[in-house]
């Protein structure tokens, strides 16, 4: 991925200056319960750099208006700020055209859009939808609703004890009834990175389409939708250092053209009479109503920010952090890491013998450390690993080895309280 479009200086590949990155995030200099904040809940949402915050302030201070409407100065300023981000996204994920970039509320809405338009048109009784055992609820429930409605079948690719998809089972499960395969790029609960390219190749050979839930892919690695060759790719702004309430659905242009619109309203039409409405062209066909303009503009700033750091640099830095944190956590007696895939994003799910994750979360919080505890919106996965819940430390571009060490020290206090 080339960061050439960025307005920020790009860092030399070999040098990742985490302290400089930290200085860009105002919230990282705050405290929690009297301790410097250690934010390890990045898989839930990421913090925002000043570049994003400032961009939103600038939008409301000097560009705010509705888009695609007026002829006046501000409307043109808002429209160009909004539409410029479409090309930023296009380059960011290497789509072929801006028409393939649909702005949504987030990953969940992107998946629901595909299910409600492509899915309702193309899935029928007896058809099959393939998902995997490590999906987030947002890539389970919309398909389940569709299958219930249509009399179709939802099948689940199993995972092995490391949390990796069983590719042998997957290959066996592909059959002519499978119309679509929907899998995550990376698991929010375990960190497993799925072989999405291989998954797509096999699916296409079977005549099935592929949707990738990229919520945990985009923040951690270079994403190239043409290289993956997937048909749909959905992600959220807030998990990649942008605002909440905004996301992107990438769709192959020919498919998007063939799909009926989803929500009706303003912006998605060319002309309306009470007898007939002519729908707008791509991408506007799928963007009914006034969009989250502030969110889109902030997302553009976020993608430029991470592009300037370099997604490959981010992957390398986070991978080093993952290895360090994994090694240090394994020093704690009674701690077991759930999810030990060979290919992992910087997410560590763990359980501690004799201590419920909820109690771990409270004690870590008192030490200023934010982790997620619970089922991580992946209840079937928790059942697969026979745990009611886990603690989860998920790392981002600003986390340090020192913070991982503080997590380990705090977990030792947990052990002490419950000894």
């Amino acid at each position: 991925m080339s960061p050439a479009h960025s307005t920020l200086p790009s860092l030399p590949a070999a040098k990742y200056d985490v302290q400089a990155v930290r200085a860009d995030f105002p919230i990282l200099s705050t405290t929690a319960h009297g301790h410097p904040l250690v934010y390890l809940d990045n898989a839930a949402t990421t913090q925002k750099p000043k570049a994003v915050i400032d961009r939103i302030v600038r939008y409301y201070s000097s560009e705010n208006s509705n888009v695609h409407r007026g002829v006046h100065y501000l409307s043109e300023a808002a429209t160009s700020a909004y539409e410029d981000v479409r090309s930023v996204v296009m380059r960011f994920i290497n789509a072929r055209s801006e028409k393939e970039i649909i702005f949504t509320r987030g990953t969940t809405e992107g998946i629901n859009l595909v299910v409600q338009t492509w899915g309702r048109k193309n899935i029928g009784a007896g058809d099959e939808v393939l998902i995997s055992a490590i999906e987030h609820h947002s890539n389970i429930v919309p398909w389940q609703m569709l299958c219930d409605e249509k009399g179709a079948r939802l099948s689940v690719i199993p995972v092995n004890d490391s949390g990796e998809l069983s590719m042998d089972d997957y290959a066996r499960m592909l059959n002519p009834r499978v119309k679509v395969v929907a899998v995550g790029h990376a698991s929010n609960a375990l960190g497993t990175i799925n072989p999405v390219r291989q998954i797509t190749t096999l699916a296409h050979a079977n005549g099935s389409l592929v949707l990738i839930d990229g919520a945990q892919g985009v923040p951690h690695m270079t994403v190239d939708v043409q290289a993956i060759d997937c048909d749909f790719y959905a992600f959220s702004g807030h998990k990649v250092y942008g605002p909440t309430g905004v996301g992107v659905l990438y769709g192959r242009q020919s498919l998007l053209e063939s799909m009926p619109p989803w929500q009706g309203g303003g912006d998605m039409i060319l002309s309306v009479s009470f007898e007939k409405t002519t729908y707008n062209a791509l991408p506007y066909k799928f963007e009914a109503g006034t969009p989250n303009i502030e969110g889109v503009v902030g997302l553009g700033a976020a993608l430029q920010y991470v592009s300037a750091l370099g997604l490959d640099n981010i992957s390398a830095y986070e991978h080093d952090l993952l290895l360090y944190a994994t090694r240090r956590l394994q020093e704690i007696d009674g701690l077991r890491i759930i999810g030990t895939a060979r290919e992992k994003a910087a997410v560590i799910s763990f359980v501690l013998e004799g201590v419920h994750p909820h109690d771990i979360g409270t004690i870590l919080d008192q030490e200023g450390i934010a982790v997620r505890t619970g089922h991580h919106c992946a209840q079937p996965l928790m059942m697969r690993f026979n745990v009611p819940a886990t603690g989860r430390a998920s790392f981002g571009i600003y986390n340090t080895r020192d913070e991982a060490a503080r997590l380990v020290d705090a977990l030792r206090k947990v052990v002490e309280v419950f000894r």
Partner: protein
């Protein structure tokens, strides 16, 4: 650590490790209690006499230390009490864990007073009260499950 020591008092740690009345009861009303947010899941078993006085109560399931200890202490506190007495006790307990202690007579609470530290941790109030909500549903004679959401 002082707030934490307040939260995880010895009574709580003890009841978490060795929960009392942690078994199934035959011929009992059976109600499930869930906290979907953190995965706490208990089944409460209740026997009452003809006057709605608790003859026996027990529970099974899993969850955090606060919810488990709360179910355990509750089960050993409410035996022999009437539905009305349990209602009043729950009200007092609820005020204790939410920090609304004006007029709370702590002698009435006995071992339940160990949960006073919960009031400093608003996210944990649901853990402390899950078993009580479940018991109340069981006393009302409803057989459905209870969730904290």
């Amino acid at each position: 650590m002082s707030d934490l020591r307040e939260l995880y008092q010895q009574v709580i740690l003890d009841h978490n490790k060795n929960p009392r009345n942690f078994r199934e009861l035959e011929d009992a009303r059976r109600v499930e209690g869930f906290n979907p947010l953190c995965g706490d899941h208990y089944t409460l078993f209740l026997q009452v006499d003809d006057h709605d006085v608790i003859r026996d109560v027990s529970f099974t399931g899993s969850g955090c230390a606060i919810s488990k200890a709360s179910a355990s202490v509750m089960s050993s506190t409410v035996k022999g009490k009437s539905k009305e007495e349990v209602g009043r006790l729950f009200e007092t307990f609820h005020r204790l864990v939410t920090g609304d202690t004006s007029g709370v007579d702590s002698t009435e609470l006995g071992r339940l007073a160990a949960f006073s530290g919960v009031s400093e941790f608003p996210a944990r109030v649901k853990c402390a009260t899950l078993a009580w909500h479940t018991l109340r549903t069981a006393l009302d004679g409803h057989a459905e499950s209870v969730t904290t959401e």
